[in-house]
């Protein structure tokens, strides 16, 4: 399924390139699919019965790490924006994708156009791929909490199996809780940061 999602972009690019940009999807169709997606993502996070008690039981101690990850990600994004000079809001919103490349790309595309969507897709794909590569190395030579930090929202799903393989169980729980909290923030943060 991940491959289907990942292959959708190159397939779309190919179709768009072959049709010389004549193939257009009506905005209303795009918006309906998008609303359905946001509703389903919210629903799937909301209906998980184990999720909320887990977050509550971990308490404020567990909240400190995701909060720090959020602040650190945005601080890193701010530095990137200062260096790249391509728009602070755009770079901050891109980094606020937290590695959730599919949703970040769609949100950025809807709010700021195809170029922003492309940047959002690439930056967040890189974050996920770099996380998968770096986790074993970081878990071996540095603090296990760093594996949670670099993964952002991906520690809830794609990166979780890799993290759980290399860190103690309590850090795995932290990874999951942190990934959930950051995932909850992505659909809210990106539009807010873009100011749209």
């Amino acid at each position: 399924m991940t491959w289907l999602v990942l292959a959708s972009v190159p397939l779309g690019i190919l179709a768009g390139w072959l049709s010389h940009g004549t193939l257009h999807i009506k905005a209303v169709i795009e918006n309906i699919v998008f609303a359905l997606l946001l509703l389903a993502i919210g629903y799937s996070l909301g209906q998980d019965e184990t999720l909320w008690p887990r977050i509550k039981s971990e308490g404020l101690r567990m909240m400190a790490i995701p909060a720090a990850i959020l602040v650190g990600t945005l601080a890193g994004g701010l530095v990137a924006a200062l260096v790249l000079q391509i728009g602070t809001r755009l770079v901050l919103a891109t980094s606020a994708g937290m590695g959730w490349y599919s949703l970040a790309a769609i949100l950025l595309n809807q709010a700021a156009g195809a170029k922003a969507g492309t940047l959002g897709f690439l930056a967040n794909v890189f974050r996920e791929l770099l996380t998968l590569v770096a986790v074993p190395w970081i878990a071996k030579y540095a603090n296990g909490t760093l594996t949670v930090a670099i993964g952002g929202a991906t520690t809830m799903d794609t990166a979780l199996p890799v993290i759980s393989k290399h860190v103690p169980p309590n850090t795995t729980v932290l990874a999951f809780v942190s990934g959930v909290l950051l995932s909850l923030l992505v659909p809210v943060l990106i539009p807010l940061l873009l100011g749209t």
Binding site: G12, L37, G76
Partner: protein
């Protein structure tokens, strides 16, 4: 774009309170994956239809990599600081409880 946030929050509330235990929403993955794939395909269509974006794809890739690396570095540094603070507070509360809640 407030509807982005509202739709997501409505989804969360519906899922949490189980207002609508409909067959359609029982398996959200059946909605999430195809709609993600479809929307990303639409994004690809827009990229492919605009030669300017296609020509700058390597530049966008380099910028994306830069943003990813700095975001990861920032989050790692901030999480490490938070971890140390949490550890310090935890060890302080342990020593407090050993002293019967009285300071040293």
């Amino acid at each position: 774009m407030v509807w982005f946030i509202l739709t997501f929050i409505i989804g969360l509330a519906v899922g949490r309170k189980k207002f609508l235990p409909t067959a359609l929403l029982q398996h959200p993955a059946w909605i999430v994956t195809p709609s993600l794939a479809l929307l990303l395909f639409f994004l690809g269509l827009q990229i492919g239809g605009q030669p300017a974006i296609l020509h700058s794809i390597w530049v966008l890739g380099a910028e994306g990599l830069f943003i990813a690396v700095l975001s990861m570095a920032g989050s790692a540094i901030a999480a490490l600081i938070a971890y140390r603070m949490v550890q310090r507070r935890a060890s302080a509360s342990i020593s407090d409880s050993r002293n019967g809640g009285k300071p040293d």
